[in-house]
Symmetry: C2
Subunit: 338 residues, 2 copies
């Protein structure tokens, strides 16, 4: 019997190439394909400024390539579904982006991405390409205070792309950008909650398969699990528990200016995301914090997974300035607070 399709795709092998082709056709003024699976700005910025590059598997749209554009990423190097792009392709992208000002490579902490990045950077150094890496490791599901090697990179990378893109546009040096990035990553944290079944588009295998009415706080982006499964509670109870865990990790001082993003990962409705945001906001204000930057949006998805990621950061004024006051034309970045 022929397999039943449940997604709008053509050949499973072609999903990454076809989605990227559709993407650059839809946003021709902002992005282009420089080579297979290498998304760049339509209008490259001047070479005296540091290039911001990232890498990661497809299947998380609009991330990561949705944030290529003026004022954000210069280049996104795309792997197949949930797979790292490999060192050779990343090296190819670093060659394209080569410049005296240097390249800052933002790497989400997933083993394949880290391995690709390390190998590509070795190749780049041998080829005389100036490149530095910064790791994002915002997931807190490994436990409060867990070492950063044990913490995965989740949706917290996206605001970092904005901060770095704006700072690079201002002419900040590679060393300065590394400092800005590390100050952000040290003060950002994300917690994911998953619900219901979702499937891999290429083999229809369950990425996660939670029974109705069960949720998992601390889920990863590819069904890694890592959290506890328990019966779904109310939006308010879920939000309060997640805020508490994130605050335990970040330990913001009273009066801190926070970023709060509720990132829908797929099937959970914007309606629900708004309701969750409402409670998280109120919890944080009750703790004496100011919400300086906020957003409710699908920025990094996990196929048709139900659930969301709560992304939080303690921001400095220059982070806030780069997030709020510098325009970007990346197709999925919505300006904040204009």
């Amino acid at each position: 019997m022929e397999k039943i399709m449940t997604k709008f795709i053509n050949s499973p092998e072609a999903v990454t190439a076809e989605l990227l082709e559709g993407y650059v056709l839809a946003y021709p003024d902002q992005v282009a394909l420089a080579a297979e699976n290498i998304v760049v700005r339509k209008n490259p910025k001047s070479e005296d400024k540091v290039a911001i590059v990232t890498l990661g598997g497809s299947g998380h749209e609009p991330a990561l390539s949705g944030f290529v554009g003026d004022g954000m990423l210069d280049c996104s190097v795309v792997g197949d579904v949930f797979a790292a792009p490999g060192a050779q392709r990343l090296f190819q992208a670093l060659q394209l982006m080569k410049r005296e000002a240097g390249i800052l490579l933002v790497v989400l902490n997933h083993s394949g991405d880290v391995m690709s990045a390390n190998m590509a950077c070795q190749l780049a150094e041998r080829a005389g390409i100036k490149v530095r890496k910064v790791l994002t490791y915002d997931d807190v599901s490994a436990g409060i205070g867990a070492p950063k090697e044990d913490r995965r990179g989740l949706a917290g990378c996206v605001p970092l792309y904005k901060i770095l893109g704006a700072a690079a546009d201002e002419g900040r040096s590679l060393d300065e950008l590394v400092e800005i990035a590390e100050r952000y990553t040290a003060n950002s944290a994300t917690l994911a909650v998953a619900m219901r079944r979702c499937t891999h588009p290429q083999n229809d295998a369950a990425i996660t398969d939670l029974p109705d009415g069960i949720m998992e706080i601390g889920a990863g982006q590819h069904g890694e699990g890592g959290g506890g499964r328990k019966p779904l509670v109310s939006a308010d109870a879920t939000a309060a528990e997640m805020v508490d865990l994130l605050c335990q990790q970040l330990q913001p001082k009273a009066g801190s200016k926070l970023m709060l993003i509720i990132n829908g990962v797929g099937a959970t409705t914007h309606m629900e995301l708004n309701i969750v945001f409402r409670k998280a906001y109120k919890e944080l204000v009750a703790r004496g914090y100011e919400i300086a930057v906020s957003r409710i949006q699908e920025i990094l998805t996990v196929q048709e997974q139900a659930g969301f990621q709560m992304v939080m950061a303690v921001l400095d004024d220059d982070h806030i300035n780069y997030l709020k006051n510098k325009p970007s034309n990346a197709p999925y970045w919505v300006e904040i607070g204009r």
Copy 2:
């Protein structure tokens, strides 16, 4: 036995109030609640310009209130989930928006919304409020050339909000805005395709309940059906069939400048939406058309329904100008082609 929750909500009765509260907390620089279920701009525009107002039930987030902001809607009047807001609330909003330049009320063709709008406009006229209505009826599932009374308002309203908001900012008169709107609605068409089950957040009843592997082209926004059910085919075959039907309706002349939007309605991934866009774009270019405005985004959803709406319009140059070259800070409007 207690009912199993499957959505992140609190009380089913409170979803609309709570989601709107979360929304205005997340976007405090752009939107505010003027009264219960009445969303307005944070910074009202000058009263010598026509106000653009719309109405509709909740449950379709980010529409409709996500498009309130500078350069788009002045006011969105919200009903409960999938329910019209009622004439009294709409009248209240018209009183708030009252001005000599007048109010243009954009009404999606759904019986409850139309009835609320007609009654509220009668009340407004008696109260000396200058208001005109424009109806959107982009759905083509009733058949090619069906009378507009039989055609529902789908996601095609969103670009119209942008066009009207930009034109009103320029100081166009109420009569001129009606003409601009009717020229758009006469030349726009949408087709929706649904797949899989989704549920109402208040009673957990199935809004649509399609078996795995079955799709329905011509589905409405609330499970009205109206299309034919058939086994899911490839993304390319689906896109080609929908493009053909939309072109039969619109009959664009060779060389026409088109708008093409793939609107995800909930659970269908951005990955799939990109793949569908790719084929639709190629089909239209092969027919001799130019894609002048394009987007892949969830602008109007149907809870966690899988599927999408293909929104198409034949645009005049002034429509293109209003869509592309005039900024808006509405929280869910992403600038096109900067």
